[in-house]
């Protein structure tokens, strides 16, 4: 059952040293910055974080890395114009990196949430990223065995929730959030507004409340600096 919680600090209570934490977002879009800030305040250490990136600028995931809470990150695209926090830590050997192709990352998390033991993916066949891994040829095409990813916790961001924990998202802030919501022992969502049960059209719900353990309202979330024009 989903529980509405009063604030972000209460929402992240119970995340222990060494936990694996799925964190939603693609850059700043859909990144649950206030939940990450609360996680930082717990002082937890030695986290394994799974995110598409490895932090942007100096806030949110980047601040979690900067302050030494993360020992390992599994992501697809760490290196960006504004990933200086991660870049310095990585070059100093202070954070371990596992690079996973973005679609494999999403599908491994999806599999983790869907009870799939493993699956064969055509991505990366014949490349260094899959060297030495189990392969199979199925109907003439080559595939590599991929294992699911799960977290002890997932921190996600959605647009709105109802009191039953059903979630709707907004535009490209959806990204990894719905799949991550399914793949953790405890999923914690921050949303801009919580409406009463029945206040969301069931036809539009993207994440059913069964996946959501705690919901916190952050009505004016940090969204990062204005995106750079093209």
């Amino acid at each position: 059952m989903s529980t509405l919680v009063f604030d972000a600090d209460e929402a992240v209570a119970g995340i222990r040293d060494g936990a694996t934490v799925l964190i939603g977002g693609f850059g700043y879009a859909g990144q649950p910055i206030e939940l990450i800030d609360a996680l930082r305040r717990t002082g937890v250490r030695d986290l394994t974080v799974i995110n598409n990136n490895a932090g942007n600028g100096d806030i949110g995931l980047a601040a979690l890395l900067r302050d030494g809470h993360v020992s390992r990150i599994i992501c697809s695209f760490p290196r960006q114009d504004d990933s200086w926090v991660f870049d310095d830590l990585y070059r100093a050997g202070q954070v371990e990196l596992e690079v996973v192709p973005q679609g494999n990352l999403a599908e491994r998390i999806r599999a983790g949430g869907a009870g799939i033991g493993a699956f064969f993916s055509p991505t990366g066949v014949g490349t260094g990223l899959t060297a030495g891994r189990e392969q199979r040829t199925i109907e003439g095409r080559d595939y590599v065995l991929e294992y699911p990813l799960r977290g002890d916790f997932a921190l996600i961001k959605a647009h709105r929730a109802d009191e039953a924990g059903n979630l709707v998202y907004r535009k490209t802030a959806r990204n990894f959030n719905p799949v991550m919501a399914t793949a953790a022992a405890v999923t914690i969502a921050q949303v801009e507004a919580i409406v009463e049960t029945g206040g969301l059209d069931p036809e539009t719900i993207v994440t059913p409340g069964i996946y959501i353990d705690r919901v916190v309202e952050v009505s004016s979330p940090e969204t990062g600096p204005p995106p750079a024009p093209r």
């Binding site: 850059g27 690079v99 494999n104 014949g126 490349t127």
Partner: protein, 220 residues
């Protein structure tokens, strides 16, 4: 095969225009980060091309300006964009299912190197000091029905980027079908590489400079 000798090599915008002109009407297309994004500027409305961006949007429009800029509406390069009428949003696993499942018609990518078999190297220079970052490159390369690559034919040091064997780490094997460069456009098939057109240079000069032999192009 046409040798355009009354002009110099293609500019980036001319390459982008050529790519845009070769995209079929009604195609679902992903334009990779970097140089391929320029292709969007040359697509004609009557082509009715639908752009996919792997962070979860089909029906991506042009770059957003002014009050259109929305931090929750970005492309895979994290640039703010607008949504076109008929657009749809989806999560990352669905976005890559769309790609990996062969539903996209064309993907346009940049490259460090392409081999004569269509192997693609575009994600990592292999420099041990570089931070590896693959993003969606490997799925883009294997997923679309056709993969077009845009790059200069020669590196800054003059070495060819169309090669017998890629020396940079591979993104995917035998995936490139068409290669657009400043000096020539090539088709890559199981039979080898054929020059479809050259710009400011003859085919024979390109064979000499690349050390490759080009097959006769199928009737274009």
């Amino acid at each position: 095969m046409t040798e355009h000798l009354d002009r110099g090599p293609l500019s980036r915008q001319e390459m982008a225009a050529l790519v845009a002109g070769d995209i079929p009407v009604g195609a679902f297309v992903n334009l990779g980060i970097g140089q391929p994004t320029a292709v969007a500027d040359h697509l004609r409305p009557e082509q009715a091309v639908v752009l996919h961006t792997e962070n979860g949007l089909l029906g991506m429009g042009r770059a957003a300006v002014g009050s259109e800029i929305d931090s929750e509406l970005i492309n895979a390069g994290k640039v703010p964009v607008i949504e076109n009428p008929g657009a749809s949003f989806f999560h990352s696993a669905d976005s890559f299912a769309m790609m990996r499942g062969g539903h996209l018609d064309v993907c346009v990518l940049g490259a460090f190197q392409v081999s004569v078999r269509g192997d693609l190297a575009n994600w990592h220079t292999g420099d041990p000091n570089a931070i590896p970052a693959v993003g969606g490159a490997m799925e883009l390369a294997i997923g679309a029905k056709q993969v077009f690559v845009m790059m200069t034919l020669f590196g800054r040091d003059g070495s060819p980027k169309l090669v017998r064997e890629c020396t940079y780490p591979l993104t995917a094997v035998a995936c490139v079908s068409r290669l657009y460069t400043d000096c020539a456009v090539f088709e890559i098939t199981g039979e080898g590489v054929a020059a479809l057109a050259t710009y400011g240079v003859t085919c024979a000069e390109l064979e000499q400079r690349t050390g490759l032999e080009f097959a006769a192009a199928a009737a274009a």
